[in-house]
């Protein structure tokens, strides 16, 4: 017999996770529309791997399978990995990444709720360091048919032809152009002007995927699954930094809309920095955490060697979370100062 409270809201980890998955659907739909169905295949691969890895570890750890396998958390990790990886990456890359995320980043740290690092971002960071050549296999928007995509993913396609079928992401395209040998003559404007990957604001297709994630993310806020703090602080900081830099030196730095819609920023804002387990938890802490991720992302994007720095930015800020949380404890009812231990 349990103790009070005897009433409980009808809610569960599972329902939270399922709603997060649901909120990813608009972005996925846009993805399929512009880049073909390869992403769906990757999502399926990642999901199956995640469930298998989760089941295996749960079994080894002697945890109840039914409860934890159905909580949906492994699927969220899997989907985020699939969505942040290039859809034409070989099948084993996503499988390996997902296994690392579930087995190492999640369960070696104690499983659900215990991981200090965002598992999907751990996987992404490791893979981009280990296999940079595969991490750039983004499809062009001139739709490759699903059969060809399938062949590429499973390595059945002649490699020479790959270059013609894949295309850099807008961020990558810009970085490559700016850092190329004749970089002195290249400006942001000229690099973007002649690039087939560039659409209205940022990348063709990319901006619509971002819009899809924005819609899904706003729905999560409305559902009270996430609070406004993290996405707002992340997007606002990125916007301000990019806006400031591109105003000062428009030939070297891309504008704010390009940053917000040209890569994984929207996905990160609503689905990655908002991972409750590895993010800061206090209201001020969330603002600091997300602003820090945005700052690091912008720095890595602008000056670093990797096209998109979100994964590294998130992992770096994950380290700071305990400190941030401790320093930003909210004022307790009736107490004067934050964090004061003594009454009055």
């Amino acid at each position: 017999m349990n103790n009070s409270p005897y009433l409980r809201q009808a809610t569960s980890v599972q329902s939270v996770m399922l709603r997060v998955l649901f909120a990813l659907l608009p972005g996925i739909a846009a993805y399929v529309w512009f880049f073909g169905a390869a992403i769906v295949l990757q999502i399926v691969l990642a999901s199956l791997t995640a469930l298998a890895a989760e089941a295996l570890v749960l079994h080894l750890r002697g945890k109840p399978l039914a409860i934890f396998l159905t909580d949906g958390s492994a699927l969220v990790t899997a989907w985020l990995i699939a969505l942040s990886f290039p859809p034409l990456a070989p099948w084993w890359l996503v499988v390996l990444a997902t296994m690392i995320a579930i087995i190492v980043a999640k369960h070696l740290y104690g499983g659900l709720g215990q991981n200090p690092f965002n598992p999907a971002m751990v996987a992404f960071a490791l893979m981009i360091v280990a296999y940079p050549q595969f991490m750039s296999r983004w499809p062009g928007t001139d739709a490759i048919d699903f059969a060809t995509q399938w062949q590429i993913i499973f390595g059945l396609h002649a490699n020479q032809a790959l270059d013609a079928l894949t295309m850099a992401t807008p961020l990558d395209a810009l970085r490559t152009a700016l850092h190329s040998t004749n970089a002195t003559t290249v400006t942001v404007a000229s690099a973007l002007a002649h690039n087939p990957a560039i659409g209205l604001m940022a990348g063709r297709g990319w901006e619509w995927i971002a819009a899809g994630h924005l819609i899904g993310g706003l729905w999560l806020v409305q559902q009270r699954i996430i609070t406004w703090h993290l996405p707002t602080a992340f997007l606002a900081t990125l916007f301000l930094l990019a806006g400031l830099a591109s105003t000062i030196n428009p030939s070297e730095f891309a504008g704010p809309l390009f940053h917000l819609f040209g890569g994984g920023a929207m996905l990160a804002a609503f689905f990655i920095v908002t991972d409750p387990v590895s993010a800061a938890t206090t209201p001020y802490g969330k603002l600091i955490f997300a602003a820090g991720v945005a700052l690091l992302t912008w720095i890595i994007r602008s000056f670093g060697a990797y096209p998109d720095g979100i994964a590294f930015a998130v992992l770096l800020m994950n380290i700071a979370v305990p400190l941030i949380d401790m320093a930003t404890q909210p004022r307790v009812f009736g107490h004067k100062k934050n964090g004061s231990n003594h009454h009055g």
Binding site: M1, N2, N3, S4, P5, Y6, L7, R8, Q9, T11, S12, V13, S15, V16, P64, I67, F68, D71, S73, G111, L112, G113, Q114, T227, P276, V277, A279, T281, T282, D325, Q329, P330, R331, V332, F333, G334, H335, N341, H342, H343, G344
Partner: protein, 579 residues
């Protein structure tokens, strides 16, 4: 009027309609015939000391006769709820989850319900202290559930005046409607009680806060205030959100003042009483009737939910009979679904704290789904009205890092249950807090006991040392009287005495130093005593939250202690095993 807001809170389904359809009924009085003619009146029904029994088996008592005298000022008297014969003063099971027993006066009712001579008490003709004593002896305690002795709250605080008297009619917990019905039906009597409180506390104004889901109570109370022409009173509808009826939350909503944990609210110019308490004060002062009955809601899994005016001591099966619990009943809860306690059986009596008997069933309160790990989603923090970080408290309590839990203000937790209500991982968070609090109090009382034991030991050592020296001195004196051994004795005495003293002193500890001085003077003893006193003083500096306890804190401690018994006796599968 400007209202303020408190953070957090939840809005569960209220389930209040069912028990408000019919007026308050009189609970079946124990009759002379049949099995149900006994009242079991526990002596300990309030925070504070256990009253001393004034009757013994065989005595005839009248309705309203005092049967338990307050044990000191931090206590409250108890009375016979009807006339009859005392058949026993014995241990009986209490309305407490542990099924723990306490001393009760068992009265066999004679069915005549014969009152003592009732005399109104004209508080205008008495000093404040006399009025407080009167209320203590009339057994008036807080009827919102906390059963804090009312007389201890009736002092105006600094400056002899109180800014705002707050009357709590919020009744925020689901299912409970006893205050609602009381306000609907006896608004004028409540207001008369408020007048008394206002006078005694020299309050500038009285605000009566009622949740806006009780339009009839609001109307009745407003009408009563208007009928009385009280310009200094206002009935205020407050937004319906649990726990708006928590004293701290209601004070905040009505005045914007936040009374910190462990502080007297009078120091902040406010004091808060439940409407039921105001009514009891009216009965005690204006009618000369001590607190012998209260309104109890019977709700939940019953055929006929209803409110009853029940005599204190009425066994629950008698109270419940008219409402007919349904066959799938699996538990009785005293209080509401958010903070109530599960009772050990239906033979336990109605006590002053019994605002509601909630009859439970698996359908009404299904067992919680399996507990999952905390995903740090922060829902609990959003829901916490004390602005705590419940999941941090949970981590620390679970890991038994109690110091950290205290640093994160564990003792500011009012155990309202909002956090556990919203937690998607179905963690019984409040159980962890109760566990941590009880462990901390247990540690500190053990420490206090150890300190006391050491103190006693040291003083015994001192006494023995002194006696040894006196004996040596006497011996020396006697020996000195013997002329023949005069020189020997004079040489010996100083040697013997310090030897005894230093032996004792080295056992004592740090006070050994002065003893090494020549012992001809009484200074070693003085130094020892001074050192011991010094240590005693130093030992009084204990952790901040155990010194200078206010009555409110002591009350909390008592309440926590009571819950400890519950926690200890119940299996706790989700608590990590002791290592």
């Amino acid at each position: 009027m400007q209202l303020f807001d408190f953070n957090g809170g939840v809005t569960p389904e209220y389930h209040k309609e069912a028990s408000t359809q019919s007026p308050i009924a009189v609970s079946p009085a124990p009759s002379r015939n049949g099995l149900k003619n006994f009242l079991v009146i526990p002596l300990h029904q309030s925070i504070g000391g256990t009253p001393r029994p004034l009757v013994s088996a065989g005595d005839r008592v009248l309705k309203g006769q005092r049967i338990g005298a307050a044990d000191g000022d931090m206590s409250s008297a108890v009375h016979a709820s009807t006339s009859g014969q005392v058949v026993a003063v014995e241990m009986r099971r209490m309305p407490h989850p542990s099924g723990l027993s306490a001393l009760c006066v068992v009265i066999e009712a004679d069915g005549r319900d014969e009152w003592i001579a009732r005399q109104p008490f004209d508080y205008h003709q008495h000093t404040a202290a006399e009025t407080r004593d009167y209320l203590r002896d009339a057994g008036v305690v807080g009827l919102g559930g906390a059963v804090f002795p009312t007389h201890l709250k009736i002092s105006p605080g600094k400056g002899g005046k109180l800014d705002t008297l707050i009357i709590n009619g919020a009744e925020c917990e689901p299912f409970i409607t006893c205050d609602d019905l009381l306000m609907r039906e006896r608004a004028e009597a409540i207001i008369q009680g408020v007048v008394i409180l206002r006078d005694l506390l020299a309050a500038g104004r009285a605000l009566i806060g009622i949740e806006d889901n009780k339009p009839q109570a609001l109307a009745a109370m407003t009408a009563a205030v208007q009928a009385g022409g009280h310009q200094d009173m206002a009935v205020v509808a407050v937004p319906t959100r649990y726990p708006a009826g928590g004293a701290k939350q209601l004070i905040r909503v009505l005045t914007g003042i936040e009374v910190p944990h462990g502080k007297r609210s009078t120091d902040y110019g406010v004091q808060c009483f439940n409407v039921g308490t105001a009514y009891a004060i009216h009965e005690a002062i204006n009618l000369g009737q001590p607190l012998i009955s209260r309104i109890v809601t019977v709700a939940g899994n019953v055929a006929a939910p209803r409110n009853y005016a029940a005599l204190i001591g009425t066994p629950l099966h008698t109270l419940l009979a008219n409402s007919q619990p349904l066959p799938d009943t699996d538990r009785l809860i005293m209080g509401g679904p958010m903070m109530g306690i599960t009772l050990p059986g239906d033979e336990v009596p109605v006590v002053k704290a019994t605002n509601c008997i909630l009859v439970g069933s698996p359908r009404l309160f299904p067992p919680p789904p399996p507990e999952m790990p905390c995903i740090r989603c922060g829902e609990c923090a959003k829901a916490c009205p004390a602005d705590l970080q419940p999941f941090e408290l949970y981590w620390f309590s679970r890991a038994k890092i109690f110091g950290k839990a205290q640093e994160y203000h564990l003792f500011d937790c009012i155990e309202c249950g909002c956090c556990a209500y919203v937690c998607p991982s179905h963690i019984p968070l409040v159980d962890y807090y109760r566990f941590a609090k009880s462990e901390i109090w247990a540690n500190e009382s053990e420490k206090a006991a150890a300190d006391q034991a050491r103190e006693q030991y040291e003083f015994r050592q001192l006494r023995e040392a002194r006696e040894a020296q006196e004996k040596a001195a006497r011996l020396a004196a006697r020996t000195a009287a013997g002329r023949a051994a005069a020189t020997n004795a004079l040489a010996m005495a100083p040697v013997t005495a310090p030897a005894a003293t230093s032996a004792a002193a080295s056992a004592v500890t740090s006070a050994a130093t002065p003893v090494t001085e020549p012992a001809q003077t009484p200074s070693p003893q003085a130094a020892l005593i001074a050192a011991a006193l010094e240590r005693a003083r130093a030992q009084q500096v204990q952790p901040a939250n155990t010194t200078n306890l206010t009555p409110e804190q002591q009350a909390e401690i008592a309440a926590i202690e009571a819950r400890r018994a519950q926690i200890r006796t119940q299996a706790h599968p989700h608590l990590p095993p002791d290592d």
